[in-house]
Symmetry: C2
Subunit: 331 residues, 2 copies
């Protein structure tokens, strides 16, 4: 039996089946049971040294990679049903590496309802994890487009915590040193980066209740992703500086690291919160906290125009480029 066949055998012995997956890993293709109506599929890859650090345990990498992917399903309001997992890794790390990545991915996927349908293992000089998730839509899909001028912008959770966590997790501590930060704050910020919570229940509620006219998950930065939602809707996003929700842990970190908490909130990616547009007449229906007790904050509105700005007493400031550009450095 080849190493790859042995790997599949070992993994399959650990995981529950899924009614939608008729033939799972181990054949040339997975066979799934279809259904009429719309469904969603998305993919995200994480690369060692770029999206995660070599010192991160592979189980945590797999868990985070799955959360990142599930967040895309959350953003369209889909219910996860299956996933495929591809792991590239240097052969000297051995089979325990992809097995740990898979276990981490399953620790997020199984509670969310997604079963392992298939994947691929490959030797690679640099480790990477590429995941595909698919899920069913119970109503109309949330899209980035669809918002109207005058719609209000809401945000879940506290942006910027993951950016602080990344600095704390980085080997290059000169970027993230925050002397005197409490253990609890440190743990909260690290968890925001290492183990983000995909807002699946919130996304499904937004789609099901018809609350949102548009939505996006904040993966690359609040500024850049607000700009994306605005552009897809043909509008301008206006975030109000004094409405940005800054959590206590981020505020404490920023003060001790001599950084600006608001800048971390605007430019930091990796939080995987949902930014969504709500027609003004529906505002009274939006609860202060969504499913899972995640706070929902009105952070601004959409206007005629283009781009994304932060509005304060000093005027408007362009923020549509604040965040992580995956092709940064490319011409």
């Amino acid at each position: 039996m080849s190493g790859e066949d042995r790997f599949v055998r070992r993994l399959l012995s650990e995981i529950p089946g899924s009614p939608r997956i008729l033939v799972g890993p181990g054949d040339d293709a997975a066979i799934l049971d279809g259904f009429p109506g719309p469904w969603a599929i998305s993919t995200d890859a994480l690369v060692e040294g770029v999206d995660f650090l070599p010192e991160h345990p592979p189980e945590a990498v797999g868990r985070r990679a799955m959360a990142v992917n599930l967040s895309d399903l959350a953003a369209v309001g889909a219910r996860p049903e299956f996933f495929l997992l591809t792991v590239g890794f240097p052969p000297e790390r051995g089979e325990p590496f992809p097995l740990a990545v898979a276990r981490g991915a399953l620790s997020r996927a199984t509670p969310a309802g997604a079963g392992l349908a298939g994947g691929d293992l490959s030797r690679s000089p640099v480790a990477f994890v590429s995941i595909v998730v698919g899920g069913r839509l119970e109503g109309r899909a949330l899209r980035r487009s669809g918002a109207r001028a005058g719609d209000l912008l809401f945000l879940s959770g506290f942006p910027g915590r993951a950016a602080a966590g990344l600095r704390l997790a980085s080997r290059n501590r000169s970027r993230g040193d925050a002397p005197g930060l409490s253990d609890a704050d440190r743990a909260e910020l690290l968890a925001a980066y290492l183990d983000p919570e995909p807002r699946l229940d919130l996304g499904r509620a937004l789609a099901r209740e018809g609350w949102a006219t548009a939505a996006i998950d904040v993966s690359d930065g609040l500024g850049i992703d607000a700009g994306r939602l605005a552009e897809a809707s043909g509008l301008r996003a206006v975030l109000e500086a004094d409405r940005l929700p800054i959590g206590a842990a981020l505020a404490s970190f920023a003060q001790r690291a001599a950084l600006d908490a608001r800048e971390l909130a605007l430019s930091g990616g990796d939080d995987y919160e949902l930014l969504f547009a709500v027609a003004p007449e529906l505002e009274p229906q939006i609860p202060n906290t969504g499913p899972g007790d995640v706070p929902l904050t009105r952070v601004g509105r959409l206007e005629e125009g283009r781009g994304a700005v932060l509005r304060s007493a000093e005027g408007d400031r362009e923020i549509g480029a604040l965040g992580y550009d995956h092709l940064g450095g490319a011409p």
Copy 2:
């Protein structure tokens, strides 16, 4: 607009839409129109330096990566409908790199009926291409399991040509030097490696006509993949040495390179031919050439037992480990 957004915009302007894809690239997830009944999904990743060489043009890499993936749909008898494309690449190569990969992938996907639904771009120190393909089954899926003792084994095309082509394409010419090889033979062998033809029409015919009891695409080597089909079916695969189809170009290459053509045919992967089992009473129905004029050769049979052997006048020889093990070197 970020580099990734610009990339999606540019690519979308070049490609046809697909009726099954309701929302394509550019949102958080693709939205597809579902249907009742079974469908297939599969994924394969290619890594630079492992599965392709740095000197290969990115368009050829994308085209080959798509063929490799479509071959998995061929092996289960599915009709391609959509794909997702992930490209990791060093930023100094710039946007032209993933764009060329995407164009190459589309050159295979579009004629096969698969539309671009989504994907991901990532910076990476090492280039890689990860593709997911999905397709509809018009009948029962072909699987590796399902063959019965006494079933005959058929093979499409001429295995080993891609292994010869890889040697010719390799920078390390000491492995592949074949002095005096004709230009036509060289071109045929290089094409077999660089631009394999997924046997989609054959796979669909096998499923539709009910000819095959089991099937696999020969991606890692005829020996190892015959062993996989046999193991999934709980049987032993017996290939007959004097029935192996050795093409003229491979024979000429092997002679000039002082290699054994039959060994290349048994251990070489990357041909993406289909190996399939046929109940003996259906043998008269199997044509000599399948769709696209690909020759179909009876190469052996399945017996009670385990593993895969090559049978000749000298007896049986184990061949179930002949081929490429993706986890080779792993404990």
